[in-house]
Amino acid sequence: MDWLTLGGLVSWEVARYIIKALCDGLKSNYKPLLKRLKALKRVAVKIVSRPPTHVVNNNLIVVNHSDFKSPAEFKKFLLSLTGDDSMPASRRVKVLGVKGNRLLKFINSQKGKESISSVLRPHIPPADLRALEASLLMREYFKAHKDGVEDIKADIIERFGDRGRRIANLCTAGYFENLVSLCKENCDTPEGQAKFKSIYEMIISQEAFAVFVTGSMSEDQTEYAVVKKTASNMIYGKKYVDIHGIGTSNVKKINTVLKRLSKDSGFSKVKETEIFHESKSLVFIRLKF
């Protein structure tokens, strides 16, 4: 037991009392301990099944629920910490798993950074917006922690289905940044909003069989993506590949890659090119084989 750590926060008398109470175990009266705990500032409580109850540092006390005389005593202890019905809900203490608390802290740390979702909010369905917000959190969580995204993606798919999966894939690929640009260019008129919504729905519905070209992709990577997607589409019986690009540099990249592929005898012969949208800053085409 680290006397110095605990003594740094509270008086030695209180520290000695708490440590003695913890060493005696909570099999005796827990109320004096509770009274002393309430006197401490910024102390967190963590419930465990092992190890025994102990103080970790100035801010955390670990409480083993089986150290109490009975489950009923533990219940009294926990409910006295969480507050009762007379207290406003906003002041009552939440009880959260360690993993959930970590994710909740991360979610709160991202508040105020919702530039993508705030632009698209008026123009995409509410469920899509929620899936997008979750996908953006997933992307940022991966940047910060380098793992845990499989669980988050599974949550998105469970909650929002295949459409959620597509949104998560598009978000991970950085394509929603392109959609924000498109929205900003078009969504200040009713006609532009309708055009944006039409393009948006096309993107979501075609996600599985399309290549979405972003600024982070080189010409070689774009060419590889088109070849790979064409091959996988064929396996599913789809004799086409859709290619999407937003922004002048992406459009230029796509045009360059298409010229290269037209000269590549190893690439499937294109029978027809269907153009959904084509301009200097936007290209959605379908290559049919």
Binding site: V95, G97, I107, A134, R159
Partner: protein, 82 residues
């Protein structure tokens, strides 16, 4: 209560989860779904979803609604505090 901050955490193992649930008169049925100990009816999230023990991640303050471990439930919890 402000001296304790506003979150009590618990380890995510089944024993600890069950002890926390019991303190709120909740238990796990044969299908591993969390139910009221009194009525045996499933305890729900604010969206009306059932919660298997494996996805139990907390108690919503003031209403005994449960928190699931999925990202959207935690986003809802974060939004409710703002």
């Amino acid at each position: 209560m402000s001296s304790l901050g506003n979150i009590i955490t618990f380890e995510d193992d089944d024993d600890t989860k069950k002890a926390v649930l019991a303190a709120f008169d909740l238990e796990v049925n044969d299908n591993k779904i969390i139910v009221s100990s009194k009525t045996k009816e499933p305890a729900l999230t604010p969206e009306g979803l059932e919660v298997p023990l494996s996805k139990f991640e907390g108690i919503w303050p003031g209403s005994l609604k449960l928190v699931r471990s999925d990202i959207v439930s935690l986003m809802d919890l974060a939004d409710s505090a703002h």
